[in-house]
Each structure stands twice: as structure tokens, then as C-alpha cells.
Symmetry: C2
Subunit: 381 residues, 2 copies
């Protein structure tokens, strides 16, 4: 759901539309405006070329035959408009492989299990591959048991959390997954970081009236704005559309630079998101018998060993998909009847914008930021 002033990565529809107009400062190439991460030149690359380039980089990094799946997940992230978590992350991934923090050959393995609950270790291999394997296993457990969960310890950054929600929902499963992170948010009532922004994903399978898979996928971190978003606003000289943290006087502020100075970003829902972030961390660490947020150093290049949960549920074990689709359609239709703040800008369900961006990406090419694209090509050089 969004408003026109929502600075959210998943709602780049406005930006994508303006991609078709060229801008002189961009050397005649398309230029995006309006979205947070679009203060740079944008180009369009076919999905096949994008995936292929990423795959070559990952092959060089030593991921072997698994390079294809890992590249697919990254390319899909840009395809869906989540530019902060696609190729933009590949240079850091490469650097962490080079530093030995990520073992490109390590494969996830089951450590223990009881019924439909399993514990796995990622062995600090590529985080998106471990997460994909963990969700696939949770789905297999749900197929047998109605629901299933995999708690994954000692993994690395999963990149786009929503990937594993789409993975499950497109196969007919409802899913919930989350990861912990290094401490990057002050808990409510404090001024220094002590909880992570611990992204949470909830996905629901669904088909639209034409029978096409059109899942509902929520993918949210527990901070209202990421530091990447704050710096993008600051660079453009803009205020945030809503308060995003505290200034030096301890007041809520829309000034991104003030929040960067205090490092007091705001949790969603104030004390509520602070509590939610904490409990997601503890539950993930306990189920995975892995690291909790407090055990991570503050350097992102050393942020390895995360604990993650992958829970899959099989509603279709109890009800026909037609009935499930009827329930979802009723809720979506009702949502769309809410009076919009701006005429014509109907409230949207989580994932609704993604399908439009995806269609556009496949039709016109995936919109990528030119610096991120160039950085990828350099890794392939």
C-alpha cells in the first residue's frame, strides 16, 4: 500500500514511467525521477543479459554451478524494482568473498530436526542460496505436515528477503521468514543502537481473476527508513515525507542529515517496532541456535553468521485454491474501495506494485542505475 509520497523501493511505478523520457545530463539516456534511489542515470538492460552478467561474475567468484540460481535471484530483485538489494549489493558480496568472510563454495546443511522443525547451518556460504534452500525445505515439510519451519544459523546476507516469500507463494504456500542483522537501531527509550532492523517477510499465495499467480508479499524492515534512503534524501536536499528519526535535541525530525548525525533512526511504530525487532532477533537466534544481534560487530563487511527463520504453511491442504482466491479477492476489492487521499491513487496491497514493475521490466528491459551496472561490468572484466 502506498501514497504518492511513499518513499518505498517497491513503488517505483512513477519513476519507471519517467524512465522513458531522456535527460541531457544523462548523456541522452533515460533518467528516473521521483523514487528515492533514482538520483542517478538509469539504463534498461534485458533480463537475460542482466542475469547472464551476474552469473559470470559469480562464476569468477567461485560459486560454480550454483552461480545460475544465485544470479537469477539477484536479477529478479532488480526486475522487481528493489534496486537497493539487487546488483547494487554484488560489489560488497564480492569484497566479502575476497576477504574470506563468505565461502562461495559452502553449502547449507541440516544440523538437527524434530518433526516438521529443522535446524540448518549456512556454513557462511552465499546467503541467498542458503535462504532459497531453507525455504524450499520448509515448503517440503509443509507439503508433508501442513506446515514446516527451517531455522538457519551461521548464514550470510540473504540480499532481498522478499525473494523467499515470492518463492513460496508462487508454489502455493503461505510463508513467513525473517533475519536478524547487526545492531543498527536504538531500542525505544535509548540513544545507542542495540537492536537490528531485522526484516520480516509474509507472503500469501493468490491468483488474480485471470488465474495468474499474483501473491501478496510484504517485505519490511523494522526501521522506518534505511540509512541508504536517508542519504538519498540528503543528497537531493529534500526533507523526508515523514519523521524518520531523532535530531540532536531528541525531537522527531524529517531532516535526513540530522538523523545521520545522531544515528537515531526510528523503528516502525516507535516502541512497537522496537519490541518487534527485539523478539524477532531472539526467536531467530534461539530456534537456529545461532548468533543474536548483539553478537555482530558494527562493520557491515563483518556481518556474517545471521540467524534466519523460514516458515511455510499449506492452506491448500485444507481448502481449495479457488476458495482461498475468493477470500483474498474480497479483501483486495475492499481495500481498493477505500477513498484515496489523492484521486486516482488507490491504496495498494503488498506486492501489487511489484507485478506492474515486473511486467514493465520484462517488456522494456530492467531499469538499473548506471553506476551499479558499471560496477557489475568491472567485476566481469
Amino acid at each position: 500500500m502506498r501514497a504518492s509520497n511513499e518513499p518505498q523501493r517497491n513503488t517505483a511505478a512513477a519513476a519507471s514511467a519517467s524512465l522513458t523520457s531522456s535527460d541531457a545530463s544523462c548523456g541522452g539516456r533515460v533518467f528516473a525521477t521521483g523514487a528515492v534511489s533514482s538520483n542517478v542515470c538509469m539504463i534498461r538492460v534485458s533480463f537475460g543479459e542482466l542475469r547472464g552478467r551476474i552469473e559470470r561474475v559469480l562464476l569468477k567468484l567461485g560459486l560454480g554451478h550454483r552461480s545460475r540460481l544465485a544470479a537469477q535471484l539477484i536479477a529478479e530483485t532488480d526486475r522487481d524494482g528493489v534496486r537497493t538489494h539487487g546488483i547494487a549489493r554484488v560489489p560488497r558480496f564480492a569484497e566479502m568473498v575476497r576477504l574470506g568472510r563468505i565461502d562461495p563454495r559452502a553449502e547449507p546443511k541440516r544440523v538437527s530436526n524434530f518433526g516438521a522443525l529443522e535446524r540448518w547451518t549456512g556454513h557462511r556460504g552465499p546467503g541467498n542460496l542458503a535462504a532459497h534452500a531453507a525455504m524450499a525445505r520448509a515448503m517440503a515439510l509443509a507439503r508433508e505436515n501442513g506446515l514446516g519451519a527451517v531455522a538457519l544459523a551461521d548464514t550470510t546476507h540473504w540480499m532481498r528477503g522478499g525473494s523467499y516469500g515470492w518463492q513460496a507463494a508462487e508454489a502455493g504456500f503461505a510463508a513467513m521468514c525473517w533475519t536478524n542483522t547487526l545492531p543498527n537501531l536504538p531500542p525505544w527509550g535509548a540513544t545507542t543502537p542495540a537492536v537490528g532492523n531485522n526484516p520480516l517477510v509474509i507472503a500469501v499465495p493468490r491468483h488474480d481473476a485471470a488465474g495468474r499467480s499474483a501473491p501478496i508479499v510484504l517485505d519490511i524492515a523494522m526501521s522506518q527508513f534505511s540509512y541508504g534512503t536517508l542519504s538519498a534524501y540528503r543528497e537531493r536536499g529534500e526533507l523526508l515525507p515523514f519523521p524518520g528519526g531523532f535530531d540532536e535535541r531528541g525531537d522527531l525530525t524529517r531532516d535526513p542529515a540530522a538523523i545521520e548525525r545522531t544515528q537515531r533512526a526510528l523503528p516502525i511504530g516507535l516502541w512497537k517496532g522496537s519490541g518487534l525487532a527485539f523478539v524477532l532477533d531472539v526467536l531467530a537466534a534461539m530456534l537456529a541456535d545461532g548468533r543474536a544481534t548483539y553478537e555482530f560487530p558494527s562493520d557491515p563487511l563483518q556481518e556474517v553468521g545471521q540467524s534466519q527463520i523460514f516458515l511455510a504453511l499449506a492452506p491448500s491442504a485444507l481448502t481449495s485454491m479457488e476458495e482461498l482466491d475468493r477470500i483474498a479477492a474480497g479483501a483486495i476489492d475492499f481495500l481498493h474501495t477505500a477513498t484515496p487521499i489523492e484521486p486516482g491513487h488507490t491504496a495498494r496491497y503488498p506486492g501489487e506494485g511489484t507485478l506492474r514493475i515486473r511486467e514493465e521490466s520484462l517488456r522494456l528491459g530492467v531499469a538499473v542505475e548506471e553506476p551499479a551496472w558499471k560496477a557489475l561490468l568491472q567485476l566481469d572484466a
Copy 2:
């Protein structure tokens, strides 16, 4: 977690402390200040008397032998300081029984199952009894399968959602449960209510250093402030400590009366909480094959037929409770090291304040609002 300006029901420690001072306007009885719901005279009642009085009311309403458990759950709610959801709710419950909306004799029953996933119906019986039975069943499934879930359809208001989190965590299970509600929040980007505030509970079992059960229990609705909280601030002539909704001009405001006029309360995390509320509703309705938010009329007296999810996980199936306690202790200790905004007011984990209030309630008597107590006695007359 809290700050001193947090207007949260679970953090009535300051109010409880001032209960020991008397106030003339209260007829010499104790008077609470500082907490949201304390603009009225408070009295202390022993837990046994409180539970007994509630039980007699429920017996009269026709709950039979189940009156004792239902009364226990309600009395525990006041004991833990959650005054908005304890005896304050009993008159409405009685009215709904009188109107035939709640069937006091209806018992929850299993409708279908597959593996560790079951679907139950509440038959519109007392909502707290159905929820308690559903969580008990989810725990039994988790004991056998590592995890288990019960989706409950056609139930009634569960009163305090946290009850079922404490129920699970004190028995050694991690748990997650949520309910949908009538539409009471505008989705992001809209001005009219189309999502519920769908409370979510996450509970984690834990023991403190002395070996006492001290779970971490988060219990949050998706609205930043309830309408009950807004009216309490308005009646005291106070501004909210943080923005709680939109005024007539569409700006965020701390003025509770303005939000009551627009009925545009704020979801936690703005677009994030709006999306979370929506997906919790759809997932609950689909798993339970029950009502979604859009199917509820706007009259709270007709808010029956909710869909709820009860998920239990058994971390101790894979790890010793000692190791689990070690992980939780590390996270809590780290949280407590964060620099407090106000010296001496350490950030707290979800549930931390509850244990203090509970201890005080059992030692001094449960603090109840005099009007709520009198209303209960009238139902017992």
C-alpha cells in the same frame, strides 16, 4: 521497551507507584496519575476476590464450569496492568451475550486437519476460551511435531491477545498468534477505514538468572494508538507524545481530538504497518476459512466471527532450555546496555514491565479503575 513518555498500557509502573498516595477527590482512595487510562479513581482488589467476582458474573451469563478459566484469564489481564482488556471489557461481553451475538455455551471444535495444521471453529462462543483452547492444541501439536498451528474461524473477541503468548511461553513454547478485527484503520494512501488493527502477539520462553519463568511477550496492535487512548488524552486535555493520525488538512498530528474527528488513526510504521495489517488479515481468513476484515460491520457489538491463528514452536525439541536461556540473556543484557534517553530509565524488553506489575498486583492487590469495578459488581447484583 519504553521511554518515560510512552503511553503504553503495559508500562503502568509509574502509575502503580503513585497508587499509594491518596487523593481527596477520590474519597480518600488511591489515585493513579501518569498512565493513560488512569484519569479515574483506582482501587486495589485482591486477585482472589477479583477472579471470584468475575467468575460469578460469568456463571450468571451461562458459561457454566468454564466460567473459572474465563474469569482467570480476565483477572490475569488486570493483574498484569492491561486494564483496557480486563474487567473493563466484561460489560460489553455481557451485552453481546444478551444480544445473542456470543453463545456462552458454545465450545470450540476441530473442523479439519492435515498433519500439524488444524482448522477449528469457535462457534461464536466466549472468545478467550476458544483462543486458550486453540493455543493449547497448537502446543500439543508442537510437542509432537516441533511446531503446530491452529487456525480458528467464527470466534469472538479474544480480549487480551497477550494471554495466549504467556500461556505458551510459560509452558516452554515459542508462539505467534494474531486476530483480525473490524475495519478501523485507513490503509496507507486512503482516508477511510479498510484494514483492521489486527493485534499480533509473539512470545518466547525464557527463565531469568534465578530460574524463574520470565518470558518475552510482545503484544501489539497495528494502530499506533487505540481510539481508547486517544479519548483518554483528549479528556485530560493533553497532546499525544507522538503523532497518532491525520488532521483535517491531512497532516500528521498529536491532537487526539483531530484524529477522532477524521477517524484517520495512524498505522504503525505508516505504509509498513498498513501492509502488515492487511496480510495478517488475509492469511488468518485463508487459513481459518473464516471472515476477513471487510466482512465485519462497523458496530463493535456485532464484531463476531473473527479469524485467528495460533502457532506454537518447540525450540526445546532441538536445544536445551539452558542454551536457550543463555541466548535470551545475552540479548537482554545487551539491550540494557543501550544509553537511555533519560538516565536510569533503561530500555526494556517486551514483557519486562509486566512481571513487575504482576508482582506488585499480587503483593498489594490488583489495581482496577473504580468505575470498571462498580460495573462488574452491578453485573453480579
